[in-house]
Symmetry: C2
Subunit: 463 residues, 2 copies
Amino acid sequence: MNKPLPEQGLYAELKALLEERVTDSRGIREHHGKDESSLPYAPPDLVAFPRSTEEVRGLVNLCRRHRTPLIPFGAGTSVEGHVLAVRGGVCVDLSQMNNVLEVHSEDLDCTVEAGVTRKQLNEYLRDQGLFFPIDPGADATIGGMVSTRASGTNAVRYGTMRENTLSLKVVLADGRVIRTARRARKSAAGYDLTRLFVGAEGTLGVITEITLRLYGIPEAMSAATCAFPDVDHAVNTVIQTIQMGIPVARAEMLDALTMKAVNRYSKTSYREMPALFLEFHGSEAGVAEQARAVQTIAKDNGGMDFEWAVRPEDRSRLWAARHDAYFASLQLRPGSRAIATDVCVPISRLAECIHETAADVARASMPIPLFGHVGDGNFHLVILVNPEDPKDIEEARALNERLVMRALAMDGTCTGEHGIGLGKQKYLREELGEGVEVMRGIKAVLDPDNLLNPGKILPPPAA
Amino acid sequence: MNKPLPEQGLYAELKALLEERVTDSRGIREHHGKDESSLPYAPPDLVAFPRSTEEVRGLVNLCRRHRTPLIPFGAGTSVEGHVLAVRGGVCVDLSQMNNVLEVHSEDLDCTVEAGVTRKQLNEYLRDQGLFFPIDPGADATIGGMVSTRASGTNAVRYGTMRENTLSLKVVLADGRVIRTARRARKSAAGYDLTRLFVGAEGTLGVITEITLRLYGIPEAMSAATCAFPDVDHAVNTVIQTIQMGIPVARAEMLDALTMKAVNRYSKTSYREMPALFLEFHGSEAGVAEQARAVQTIAKDNGGMDFEWAVRPEDRSRLWAARHDAYFASLQLRPGSRAIATDVCVPISRLAECIHETAADVARASMPIPLFGHVGDGNFHLVILVNPEDPKDIEEARALNERLVMRALAMDGTCTGEHGIGLGKQKYLREELGEGVEVMRGIKAVLDPDNLLNPGKILPPPAA
């Protein structure tokens, strides 16, 4: 029997639902078949642009009837292949669901559609003296950030998407729409449905609305950079800061190679030595007190003078340089793609983990900048590979594997914030053992036909 | 066919496993068939006292083979009937699993067995300059606190058990033992298994070990009480404090009737007017700054002078008085039992919610103290009923129902911290609608024979 022509099948039905907002255009499909990883492209068969929860529900119902996979898509900034349509199907691009629905400034929360980006949200909130802190660098959508349990530079103080998501509206595989919690700050009402979908990478439902915690813009904020003679001393400064309970808002470490890349890319003139990028939030007096304490710790660890950035535009420039470190790194080897590692370990093991990893990096054949959110015990290698060279890919794979095994041996995780996607499935089993079978059971209950972002998170069943 | 004699069945097999640590003694069974609620006693058939995860696993395997329910039990301090053996079976008393297994002071975490109580843990930690903040009042076990997603007076600053549980060891219904996460501060590795068991009330597995976040004992702590002309002004003081981002560590409100009960019970001489009990944590300067700011807000709201408690023993006395408010309240009506309500609403609706509730309370036939964690939007009524008088019980039920419906209409929850247990099942459906069916699916996957604390959380299927 021939496959039905698109006009007679799912495509036609989707057109009836969404009119021009569904397409099989090759260019659009290709754009939706890749992310920021170096994994091979996998375009979907169709791309749909729903504008409401009701349309998402219609779309889910049609895909289910046609037993066609469906892949939620935000900004495409993930780095483990989360949005690749490895089994074809319909990409559900949520970027047209980009309304901020409600801001409750008195309650310090807001409700947004899944396609709102974090920069858009903060722009919207600024006049009300509020902000949403979670900052993975990329201008990701809030839906995407929920789905990968994103964190980033502010997590050391404000937590991750896990702590900052209050409630979700989700379209389930069977077309039911649920809201996972009320808007109260805390609740003990049954199983934690919100946390079930945070980090589920679109495999358990399509998130269409999110209620987030917000924070008042602090009375005072200041940022600083500080250079160190070596990575160990920079890391130890952060470890001691955390252990003293100083509520630092950001504590990022960049190694010398990353600083070199940053200078070239961002036209800055930082010392090309290991550096900390720090930020303090609080009252005027509180920020001054925190800064004094951290300066003392840094000095004891051989830190050079702090360079301060207090004016908003200077702070923005400093953090833009930090956030561009990934793209800056790519320029160290023209034509390269990056394989980014993402381990996170208990902070007492961090210096040792970075130290051992540095030895691997020193032996590698390609440039490998190292930087990360050391306040959380989380750091990244950006392994710059020639995507055409299988030897490079294999070297990167082996290096990542050694690093993951090292982190697991230290009771750490294979992924602090990027997620499992396609890239880390085999490590998930190493990390959680039989827990993976519990995940598989949950997946089977919520998505019995395996149509929601199939092929992600869960490794193939053990033989 | 006759029921097999105990010596031939499960009891005998449990004796082979646990020797004298399993019993059918009537006294012990009765002790394990009640909690702090006013629900009717429901003793288990047997009570077992395992001492290791391996013994719990053996016990779970035996119960499964005999298709006998099994109810995890900590300190019996829950208030919604969580531990009542409503379908008989084996009570698994975890109080003999009370070892602190590991403290990683550098990582600010520890791993404990489920039967460790929060006071025991804090006693253990004190010399290391660390503490575990979550404080529901009762000296509950950590396993029980995880299972009810407990919070209490410190949650406004430190979060609840949801935010402070890093990882769990759990015996599943099929006898598998999983660890839900590694010890890293954050992870994006698949579905959030830890949060799946936090708040599951023992219905998805038996938790045997818990890894918790810890905090350094703050450099400075001070507590204060402040009286107000009425409840509205006390509540508004807290709302404004939260909205200004002041990181108050505790912010408790007690109404005039509660203060009267406290004075009688704790031999204190507080003004018998609505009061706030506050605590500040931080550096010396930070605490002073917070205290100044809150004093200004309180004064603007008609607050009387602050009475300070800075010395540890004075702070302990102050918080003992607050924590005893529940037992103090019971003395207002000798022979009464308490039906405690537990709504939590967005803080912008809190004054209105308490105000409307006060009108109900004024019309009630029994004394009803009101107090709670107003910084979270969470408060309790302690409805003092004569347990022998069906009219009293019915009046309390109707009052609670009106309150729950009021909270739900304000986008709040029927339970901020006590859990669903037996008492709130019908409200769970009001609150989360189809979400309850998702919970039911998860329960069916993890406990297909419905042997783990059956009858709790999930309401009977809709007709």
